[in-house]
């Protein structure tokens, strides 16, 4: 500390940051900008398959980011909500003949209910304990997926619910066509983008940021920290479950792997690679991860070692991730 103290009331004009206007503009247009970029994706990426995966895993990481980046809770169990969305959608269509839109709704709501249960059980624990409890509970869900094979197909995964066409307002769209499929899934992604942006702009969004910044202070200000965290957990679970339903519709197949803890780890990596607590970062992170997987797995079956090493470098040297660093450095 300096010995010469600054008087409390020095009228200093705050330094003007020329780029803050640009950032504010990008922020207020972030939903439309994100949608525009994602709409271009199938035409700029080397394959439509990569594009659709960026879309699905981007929504997944964005849902996770609400909890991790904005509320400050490191869950290691988010595969459970992704998997729940996927399985419920598949089972609803394949075993109950529910129309696709009903199945999507059931998947999202089911993922939300599961998030309420897992969140309710884990939210009172702190730090590493919270991460471990979410991991353990998600492992429980994995074992349910494995054992309840008459419902889920067990190790073989869930099949037999192909959605071939989407009927909406009298129009029938061929869902097997990759371009149609992409833009229909894009509608879900757009809804998720809009919803997350809505939440971040809201008073609740300010409350979770305050909790991330300083839980003790937030509580002393009058926020019910546990309840706020639980609501954030559930909203996050809803978005991740939506990504799960998108994945089920896309693949017409749910592999048991969706519930595996490696999926939870992948979600964390994607979010951090792109930039936690940045709006579009999770999509960038999903893209970076999937691209690395594509490239390095051609080269070696041990591609996870390379991706893991790169991930560690990011955590150490670029904690804001690709997109967060870009926004902070390049734009300003």
């Amino acid at each position: 500390m300096t010995t010469k103290s600054v008087p409390l009331a020095t009228p200093v004009v705050p330094a003007k940051r020329p780029s803050s206007n640009l950032i504010a503009t990008i922020t207020s247009w972030r939903v439309l900008l994100s949608i525009a970029i994602l709409c271009l994706l199938p035409w700029v990426l080397p394959s439509k398959a990569l594009a659709v995966n960026v879309l699905i895993y981007g929504v997944l990481a964005m849902g996770y980011n609400l909890l991790f980046g904005y509320t400050g809770l490191l869950s290691f169990g988010h595969a459970a909500f992704f998997g729940a969305g996927a399985y419920i959608t598949g089972i609803a269509i394949g075993q109950f003949g529910v129309p696709w839109y009903g199945a999507v709704l059931l998947g999202v709501v089911g993922g939300g209910v599961l998030a309420f249960v897992i969140g309710g059980l884990s939210i009172r624990t702190r730090g590493i304990y919270f991460s471990m409890v979410t991991l353990a509970l998600a492992q429980l869900v994995y074992h349910v997926g494995l054992q309840a094979s008459s419902w889920t197909g067990g190790e073989n995964g869930l099949r037999g619910f192909t959605v071939a066409k989407i009927d909406l307002f009298g129009v029938s769209i061929n869902f097997l066509d990759p371009v149609n499929k992409y833009y229909i899934l894009m509608v879900f992604a757009a809804l998720a983008l809009w919803f997350v942006s809505r939440v971040l702009n809201s008073p609740f969004g300010a409350a979770i940021e305050a909790i991330r910044e300083n839980e003790t202070r937030a509580r002393a200000c009058g926020y019910d920290v546990e309840r706020t965290k639980l609501l954030s957990f559930v909203l996050s679970g809803l978005i991740c479950a939506l990504a799960g339903t998108m994945s089920a519709l896309h693949l017409a197949f749910v592999p048991l792997d969706v519930l595996h803890y490696q999926t939870s780890g992948m979600i964390v990596m994607m979010t951090l690679l792109g930039g936690a607590s940045s709006f579009f970062g999770p999509f960038v992170g999903a893209f970076a991860f999937l691209l690395m997987e594509d490239v390095f797995s051609l080269w070696t079956s041990h591609w996870q070692i390379i991706v893991g090493s790169i991930f560690i470098l990011f955590v150490l040297f670029l904690p804001k991730g690709i997109w967060g660093t870009f926004l902070a450095k390049v734009i300003r």
Binding site: M1, T3, K4, S5, V6, P7, L8, A9, T10, P11, V12, V13, P14, R198, V199, N201, S202, P203, F204, G205, A206, A207, E209, A210, E213, N214, T216, R217, A218, R219, A220, C221, G222, Y223, D224, V225, R227, T228, L231, L235
Partner: protein, 251 residues
């Protein structure tokens, strides 16, 4: 004597076998400034933690406007009318100075709303600006809180506590870590607050305490060993022995 706003009766708090606070009974009247003094480890911060819901007392009762506060969850205290600052600066470091106070104000208005825009509550933002102005931080409103000087961060925390318009304000060593210049600024701020609020103040700087307080409580090993006007306390032989004696020249 007017009716007490806050009344604690036989309040104690132990940590395992260690008694940090024992059998404290005191009443606090509206509009008065009461200082709590005592050597380090006397239990002053523990007393504040018990009064603000951070810790539940192991024994005794706390009544605020006739309401029993024991068992009330911490986040309710500020809504009931008890706000505090901490001995170690406790703010939202990465948020702007203005957002620090605005989000504190928002807690009294909207906590779970996900459908409106947070900027729609214009009055919260205006109140935050007024509070910043009253603690002399208006010019710093757009700065990131962690870049403020130490004394300014302490003042910011007081603005955060004030924004709920509390009936009782608990200030735990507001001048902790401050140099003489910063202390002077803080004392001026506290003098202003003292005119309009019920304040409980933990401090070590005797000159400041004697100037600000209507009444002084002295804690020692978790027990209340004296309770009286500044004049009574200064001449109390027991207090001189355990506290003021070692503190000569400190103020």
């Amino acid at each position: 004597m007017s009716a007490p706003l806050l009344a604690v009766e036989n309040v104690g708090r132990r940590f395992g076998g260690f008694v940090a606070l024992a059998d404290v009974t005191a009443q606090f009247e509206p509009g008065k400034v009461t200082s709590i003094i005592g050597p380090n480890g006397a239990g002053k911060s523990t007393f504040f933690n018990v009064l603000s819901g951070v810790l539940t007392p192991s024994s005794g009762s706390i009544r605020f406007k006739g309401m029993d506060l024991v068992g009330t969850r911490q986040h309710r205290f500020v809504h009931l009318g008890i706000a505090r600052s901490y001995q170690i600066t406790n703010i939202f470091p990465e948020l702007s100075v203005h957002e620090n106070v605005r989000v504190a104000a928002q807690a009294g208005r909207s906590r779970y709303n996900i459908w409106t825009n947070r900027n729609r509550f214009r009055e919260l933002s205006e109140r935050a600006d007024a509070a910043l102005d009253s603690v002399g931080l208006a010019a710093k409103r757009d700065e990131t809180a962690k870049f403020l000087a130490h004394g300014q961060q302490r003042a910011l925390e007081i603005a955060i506590a004030l924004i709920s318009d509390p009936e009782v304000l608990l200030l735990d060593e507001p001048t902790a870590g401050m140099g003489p210049e910063e202390t002077k600024e803080m004392v001026a701020l506290l003098e202003k607050l003292a005119r309009e609020r019920t304040i409980l103040l933990v401090e070590h700087k005797m000159k400041m305490i004697l100037g600000l307080s209507d009444r002084i409580l002295v804690l020692h090993h978790g027990r209340l060993i004296a309770d009286g006007s500044p004049r009574d306390i200064q001449t109390d032989p027991e207090v001189r022995r355990v506290y003021l004696g070692q503190n000569d020249g400190y103020a």
